[in-house]
């Protein structure tokens, strides 16, 4: 053992964080050793609090410390439009581009038969309940344009047909600042098929 046991233990814990190797973990451990007591105790408290206080919102299944979450409580948002996303991190990305407009529903996964994940293993039944209960008029399906994301989007659109809800899917195509020469044929096809008038 190179360092005293408590430091070795901290290095081991830090090494388990994504993107942190042993060298960086050692540097961080020594930073913490030399930091003020208030900083280290606050850091420890913050880490334990995320496990104690963070849970899922009972409406949209976003991660939150209060239930319902801030987004579900926001009266200014359009109550008739629901944006469907795979993960909480996807909500954050959309929210940063369109702040304060939509309400969300987080599926916590996508349909993936290869992993044995069907519609009942993600939050699709709860989404169906919300459509009826909250009188939703439009669903924006913002799952990834992957095989699994597209399958989930099609399944949701079939499932919600009886509710007379407008279903929209986020567009996929050429990124802003991109060059057509480097775009693959499938993306070009999608961009041309989903072109809009100007």
């Amino acid at each position: 053992m190179l360092y005293p046991e408590p430091i070795e233990r901290l290095i081991d814990h830090l090494t388990r964080l994504p993107g942190i190797g042993r060298k960086t973990a050692t540097r961080l451990a020594f930073f913490l050793l030399n930091a003020k007591d208030t900083y280290t105790s606050d850091l420890g408290k913050s880490i334990s609090e995320i496990k104690e206080r963070i849970r899922l919102c009972s409406r949209c299944f976003n991660i939150t410390d209060i239930d319902p979450c801030h987004i579900c409580r926001d009266e200014k948002r359009d109550k008739t439009v629901l944006c469907i996303v795979e993960e909480p991190s996807h909500l954050m990305v959309i929210e940063s581009a369109h702040p304060g407009i939509y309400r969300y529903h987080i599926l916590h996964g996508v349909i993936n038969p290869l992993e044995g994940i069907g519609p009942d293993e993600i939050r699709i039944p709860e989404m169906k309940e919300r459509i009826v209960r909250e009188g939703i008029k439009e669903l924006i399906i913002a799952t990834n344009p992957t095989m699994e994301g597209n399958t989930t989007a099609h399944y949701i659109s079939e499932l919600t047909k009886p509710f007379e809800v407008k279903i929209t899917r986020i567009a996929s195509g050429i990124p802003i600042g991109g060059d057509i020469v480097y775009i693959d044929p499938l993306t070009i096809k999608s961009a041309i098929d989903n072109r809009r008038s100007m």
């Binding site: 994504p18 290869l114 044995g116 344009p145 095989m147 099609h154 480097y182 499938l186």
Partner: protein
């Protein structure tokens, strides 16, 4: 060793770390392989949508004798999976056969006939609506290519060839049909007359079969595969639920 160029079916993918992908694929010349695609999750140039399950791709990869995984350098789509995603049943069928090939083959075991069957079944699933009899047909074809086809012609105990009307009892333990004499001491399941010959000779161009045929066919293969190969496929449960 070195750079290999091949045609492959993508069996499954998963994210590795921040931006890489681990890809399992079944190639025409090299069989099943596992590869790492550096930047496969983020790169907009090299991979974008090529490393998606059920795609048939022209793949380039580096192989090292000392490494357990190959390094995927490039992939271009030959036939895309586009068209499967519109129907959950289609995705379940493609998933079932991909997982079947993945679990039933060994690394680097070339099987050209199995590759062609997998490519055909994915293509057919995209084009037409397969019923359960078609699924059974392709499953039997794959078992045949793998050398696991149940014996539907001779008694698996005494070896006597049975007339079609005598093919009634199937032993999952022995992996085939049993004659009347051997059926007295070999555990088996009895099926209606004509079912076993129909299952053995069924092909999609023969038209629609009955629900009873599909149910019995599913039972016979499910029992056989789970007993002999000890394989539980994750996609099978969902396929059964979706396909009815």
């Amino acid at each position: 060793m070195g750079l290999c160029k091949d045609t492959a079916m993508i069996l499954s993918t998963r994210t590795f770390g921040e931006s890489d992908k681990i890809v399992r694929f079944f190639s025409l010349n090299e069989g099943r392989l596992t590869g790492i695609a550096k930047g496969g999750k983020k790169s907009q140039k090299r991979f974008t949508n090529t490393l998606e399950p059920f795609n048939c791709v022209r793949i380039e990869f580096f192989e090292k004798a000392t490494a357990s995984m190959v390094r995927i350098e490039n992939a271009d789509i030959e036939e895309s999976n586009s068209g499967l995603e519109v129907d959950l049943k289609k995705v379940c069928i493609a998933s079932f056969f991909s997982e079947f090939v993945d679990r039933m083959t060994r690394e680097k075991e070339r099987n050209e006939a199995l590759f062609e069957t997998l490519r055909t079944v994915v293509l057919q699933t995209k084009r037409v609506e397969l019923n359960y009899s078609d699924i059974l047909y392709y499953e039997l074809q794959m078992l045949d290519h793998l050398g696991y086809l149940p014996n539907f012609v001779r008694c698996v105990h005494c070896g006597i060839e049975l007339a079609e009307g005598e093919r009634l009892g199937f032993s999952k333990e022995k992996g085939g049909i049993v004659c009347l004499a051997c059926s007295r001491f070999i555990p088996h399941r009895r099926y209606p007359q004509g079912f076993i010959p129909q299952l053995a000779s069924y092909s999609p161009d023969k038209g629609r079969t009955t629900e009873a045929f599909e149910r019995m066919g599913r039972d016979i293969l499910e029992d056989f595969v789970s007993f002999h190969l000890d394989v539980r496929l994750k996609s099978y449960r969902l396929l059964k639920k979706v396909a009815g």
